[in-house]
């Protein structure tokens, strides 16, 4: 090959690479000094379905997560990393598992240290799986399907309770409630959405309710989104059950409750298990008549925890509603920040190990110190609430109940 095609001689090349290497070493040596002055920010993926059918819940989740980040940053950032600030990378799962996956890929490409969120079970399932391929720590904010933590994924941690625990608590408390009132309820209709969350829960209730002496008249599935509940409510009317158990997301829950009110279908109780709106301040404020007396077994903040109450005040000052998505995500973000502090860096394996030994107690939930076994926080448990006089009261557990349950529903 003629020489003119290689204008750089071997000697020149060696010289220049040596110079380059020296420059790299020099800059690496000076790096700690730069770090002390301004620690590089730590990127964290904040993944929620902020558009599409679950957009309301997704936006609430985002508020909670970013609020925690703001608090950490304004309190001096991550101490163990020289006061490094957390830089959220906001992702929109568009209310679909594919949307969630695409965002995880993007976040991984942007070298985030970890991801928090997902919200819906179906999104959490696929997003955490995708993150697992990159050993990327993933904290599930809400997703309750138990297979999320039973797949043996080392990167996936769920701070909140899963179906198994929630259904057991819900049913135990339902039996207590019914016994206290003199057993007025015997028959049940379940209305559930037809993705992983709703059908999984319906399946669980289908086996466990009969064991506790309740008869299931019908389980009515519906897709998300559904914009007309007339047929569903007609079915409820035809079956005339003592109890209606809805398990669906916010919009559908509100529509179902309003259609029941409109069609004057009034069972002895509406007892939701993870009702999308049943313990939401937004629902209670906007449709107080439809919400009155509805009971729910759901995620709820610790009403005796000053941190949870301070957050509530802060959220309400911003004219937002203090829904479970907010304090769950807030707590998950604090949990993650604590793990990054203890890992003293953004090494993914170290963060995963730090999450695994977490005993973090500075969150807003009534769970006690965090303890993960196979990715599931052992202390996580739901709470029973009831809408009474335009407010949401805790009715179980007795240790922090703020009101006595009203059951059966008084006839209007």
């Amino acid at each position: 090959m003629p020489r003119q095609f290689l204008p750089v001689s071997r000697r020149q090349l060696l010289q220049s690479t040596a110079l380059g290497a020296a420059a790299t070493v020099a800059s690496a040596l000076s790096a700690p000094a730069v770090l002390r002055a301004q620690a590089a920010p730590v990127k964290i993926g904040v993944l929620h379905p902020v558009s599409g059918a679950l957009s309301y819940s997704g936006q609430q989740g985002r508020i909670g997560a970013t609020m925690a980040i703001d608090e950490i940053n304004s309190a001096g950032g991550l101490k163990a990393l020289g006061g490094a600030k957390i830089e959220p990378m906001l992702g929109d799962a568009q209310s679909t598992p594919e949307g969630g996956n695409a965002e995880v890929e993007k976040m991984n490409a942007a070298s985030v240290a970890a991801i928090v969120g997902g919200y819906a079970s179906s999104i959490c399932l696929s997003a955490s799986q995708t993150a697992a391929r990159y050993d990327l720590p993933y904290i599930v904010d809400v997703g309750v399907v138990d297979s999320i933590v039973s797949r043996g994924l080392k990167n996936t941690f769920r701070f909140g309770p899963g179906f198994g625990v929630i259904a057991k608590t819900a049913l135990d408390n339902l039996v207590i409630l019914n016994d206290q009132a003199g057993k007025p309820a015997k028959t049940v209709v379940i209305v559930h959405e037809d993705s992983a969350f709703g059908s999984g829960l319906a399946k669980l209730l289908n086996t466990q309710l009969p064991e506790r002496g309740f008869q299931i008249l019908e389980a009515i599935p519906h897709p998300t989104p559904t914009r007309d509940f007339n047929n569903v409510v007609l079915k409820i009317r035809a079956q005339n059950p003592d109890l209606v158990i809805p398990a669906n997301y916010y919009d559908e829950y509100v529509l179902l409750a309003r259609t029941m009110q409109q069609q004057r279908v009034r069972p002895k109780g509406i007892y939701s298990v993870l009702g999308g709106a049943a313990s939401s301040y937004k629902f209670v404020k906007e449709f107080p008549n439809a919400a009155q007396y509805i009971m729910d077994c759901n995620h709820w903040f610790d009403p005796k925890n000053p941190k949870a109450l301070a957050l509530k005040k802060k959220i309400e000052e911003k004219n937002e509603f203090y829904t479970y998505e907010v304090y769950m995500n807030y707590s998950c973000m604090l949990l993650l920040a604590d793990a990054i502090e203890r890992a003293a860096g953004t090494d993914r394996a170290k963060i995963i190990a730090a999450l695994g030994d977490s005993t973090f107690a500075g969150h807003a939930m009534p769970y006690g110190p965090t303890r993960f076994v196979d990715g599931q926080n052992q202390g996580a448990a739901p709470v029973n609430t009831q809408v009474l006089n335009n407010d949401i009261q805790v009715i179980f557990p007795a240790s922090f109940a703020s009101a006595k349950p009203v059951f059966p529903m008084p006839r209007a």
Partner: protein
């Protein structure tokens, strides 16, 4: 299960939903009857009109029923312009081209909406949205009754225009015998555009009637248009009475099958019906023999 009360309520629900379907189908069948094309942009136009009604309420505080008075003429002009300046010229007199042009328009409109308003599902809350009227043993939501009555009023108005006005006579003349109409001095391109405008106005009114109890996102119109196609085939291509009766019938079928088969399967029977009609009575219930 088969209590007469429940059955009555389900049928009533179906009739109310069916009326809206009928109005969407009316626009579709009108355009088919005169232009002899299937307008694939119908669903996208419905979605666009729903957004118009949504923002009329959100930004101007207009009640959707009041907004209909403005949105319908606006969409008439829009439809007129589309046919006169885009679809007509682009088609070069070939029906297959028209099909593709309307399909292209649908893609453009839908994606423009998606770009402008994102995939969010939006609803408006009206104080009367959950008011009910007692009809026998059943309770029917007020917006549905309003829609039901309005659809019949629109159908009657359309019939009067077609029957008595000069424009209507010209439209019918063009539909029957295009060349003859042209020889008699009727401007065919104008009549085509007026027809397309009328069809689009029907969709705009349907959108205003829907929005109090439905939601809007950039794909919301598609659900209706698939059903409207079925209705047009069932009622007979180009038949106004067929669209109206077909619409009500499909509404009832959907409601009953939704009730008995469940929400997730409710629409299956509509499309089974679609295939059956195509197999056994391709000209539809009121269609003229080809």
């Amino acid at each position: 299960m088969l209590s007469p009360d429940i059955l009555f309520a389900a049928v009533l629900n179906g009739l109310m939903t069916g009326a809206i379907y009928a109005l969407v189908a009316l626009g579709l069948t009108l355009i088919y009857g005169v232009l002899h094309i299937i307008n694939f942009a119908h669903g996208a136009l419905l979605t666009a009109a729903m957004f118009a009604a949504f923002f009329a309420h959100r930004l101007l505080g207009l009640d959707p029923y009041v907004a209909a008075v403005f949105i319908a003429p606006l969409f008439f002009l829009f439809g007129y312009g589309l046919q006169r300046f885009i679809i007509g010229p682009a088609a070069h007199g070939d029906d297959r081209n028209i099909l593709l042009v309307t399909l292209g328009l649908a893609v453009i409109i839908e994606n423009a909406l998606l770009y402008a308003f994102r995939a969010d599902t939006r609803t408006i809350n009206l104080p009367y949205a959950f008011d009910v009227v007692e009809v026998g043993s059943a309770f029917v939501a007020l917006p549905r009754i309003v829609a039901f009555i309005a659809v019949f009023a629109v159908a009657l108005g359309l019939w009067l225009i077609m029957r008595w006005s000069d424009t209507g006579k010209a439209i019918r003349a063009v539909a029957k015998e295009k060349l003859g109409a042209e020889l008699a001095g009727i401007e065919v391109a104008h009549v085509y555009a007026v027809t397309f405008g009328l069809g689009t106005a029907c969709v705009a009114i349907a959108a205003c009637l829907l929005i109090p109890s439905y939601y809007v996102n950039p794909h919301a119109g598609n659900a209706f248009v698939l059903i409207a196609f079925t209705i047009v085939v069932l009622g007979g291509m180009g038949s106004v009475a067929g669209a109206l009766i077909g619409g009500l019938f499909v509404g009832v079928v959907e409601s009953l099958s939704g009730y008995y088969l469940g929400e997730s399967l409710g629409q299956i029977s509509i499309f089974v019906m679609f295939i059956l009609v195509l197999l056994f009575r391709p000209r539809g219930l009121f269609g003229e023999r080809a």
